[in-house]
Amino acid sequence: MNDLLAALRKDLLLQWRGRAQLIAIFAFGAAALLLFSFAIGPDSQSLRQHAAGFLWLGLLLASTLSLAESFEREMEEQALEGLLLLPASARALYYGKAIANWGHLTLLGVALVPVMVVLYDAGTLRLLSLFCVILLGTAGLSAPGTLYAAMTSQTRGRQTLLPLLLFPLVVPVLLAAVKATSLLILGDPMGQFRPWISLLVVFAVLHWSLGGLLFGRVVED
């Protein structure tokens, strides 16, 4: 759809302009990973054991910053409304934003992997599979996250509301992504990787569909 490409172009351009933010958010994520290791202690054995969990927790926390930021620019001068009035399809605007956010989060995830490798001595040779997990996990975060960010960017207390609404919803993503990543790092003798990936796919498909359906109601009067 023409509208979708136009929306995607707009969102990628906005992200490119705000790329300094990406670096700051990455720093935040890396700092979080560092704090986790301080909280656990220098026991390299248990750090390695829980590395996947730390990675995804750090990514989840950083995602709230990234998602909230994605709608700042839309709301400060009501630019989103301006597009809707052109008219632009609300669905296209949603998917454009969600895809751009997905890319943003994937970049963050990939950037945090070396931090994880270094801090927790937790790496894997199955890099393609790891990239797959990151891709699917961030897809699951981006779809509902974009929808909720659109809502909360128009309310008071937006900084607390977005994580409050998003975190319980994405529990399955956290569980599945952490498990899948863990299996890649620590080994997967019983071949449990596939089911977790399937769960991530199901979650992503469900929420990308729902988001597209409901976004119009959320942003229109």
Binding site: P144, L147, Y148, M151, T152, Q154, T155, R156, G157, T160, L161, L164, L165, F167, P168, L169, V171, P172, L175, A176, K179, Q192, P195, W196, L199, V202, F203, L206, H207, L210, L214, R217, V218, D221
Partner: protein, 235 residues
């Protein structure tokens, strides 16, 4: 203006009565379970609470969908009441689970999939109630909480399965939700007791929500022609 509270209050009274009857039967009269002893008796409250929590949340989901389809305010008031009740019942469920787990497993929380899903739901729907508190415009509040409710409810089975898989790799235990047939009656009585109780409470709470809405929205306009205004005509 307020309709008579007779029916909801009657429901509540009926509910309490049923609860008393069912609990008395389950706690005092029914024989203790073979392996777990008296602790098992919490099932007479726990299982009915579980059924009703799910019912309350399902009711909220129906209200959310109805509001989005019809845009009628009554569904928003019911949604508010239903979600609150769902959160309360789920919270009770978690507390009951903890009370049962401590003497049985020695820990307050045993990551049982059903209970863990319930805990996640407490946060999910509690978050939506928080959202409602932060949005002043009644229409936006109604639309947004309906959307959030749909997302949260649809998520329930996924959360359940993911926790189940996640937990199954670690422990093989499960909360004994099976109750042998001799014990079914107290269970059913309590289930209906809680059902009547929460239905009556939700009915009352809906009225409170509707009254608040009335105060937030402008009163309906006087019929046209009440004041002279020079409207009309082509420009």
């Amino acid at each position: 203006m307020p309709r008579s509270s007779a029916r909801p209050v009657a429901l509540i009274a009926l509910g309490v009565a049923f609860l008393f009857a069912g609990s008395f039967w389950g706690l005092a009269k029914a024989p203790a379970e073979l392996f777990m002893g008296d602790v098992q008796r919490i099932m007479y409250v726990h299982v009915p609470t579980a059924w009703n929590a799910m019912l309350a949340l399902s009711f909220s989901f129906v209200c959310a969908v109805s509001y989005l389809l019809t845009n009628k305010w009554k569904w928003d008031s019911r949604l508010e009441a239903g979600m609150e009740m769902g959160v309360v019942l789920s919270l009770l469920l978690c507390m009951q689970g903890a009370i049962w787990a401590k003497p049985t497993w020695g820990v307050w929380w045993d990551w049982d999939p059903r209970l863990t899903t319930t805990a996640v739901m407490v946060f999910a729907f509690g978050g939506i109630l928080a959202l409602r508190a932060f949005v002043d415009d009644p229409e936006r509040r109604a639309v947004w909480s309906s959307v959030a409710c749909i997302l949260a409810f649809v998520d329930v089975p996924i959360v359940y399965f993911s926790v189940k898989w996640w937990n199954s790799l670690h422990q093989a235990q499960s909360t004994p939700q099976t109750v042998s047939s001799a014990f079914h009656w107290p269970l059913r009585i309590n289930a209906f007791g809680i059902l009547f109780l929460w239905t009556g409470l939700v009915a009352l709470r809906t009225r409170v929500a509707a009254a608040r809405l009335r105060s937030e929205l402008a009163p309906p306009l006087p019929p046209p022609g009440a004041t002279a205004s020079a409207s009309g005509g082509a420009l």
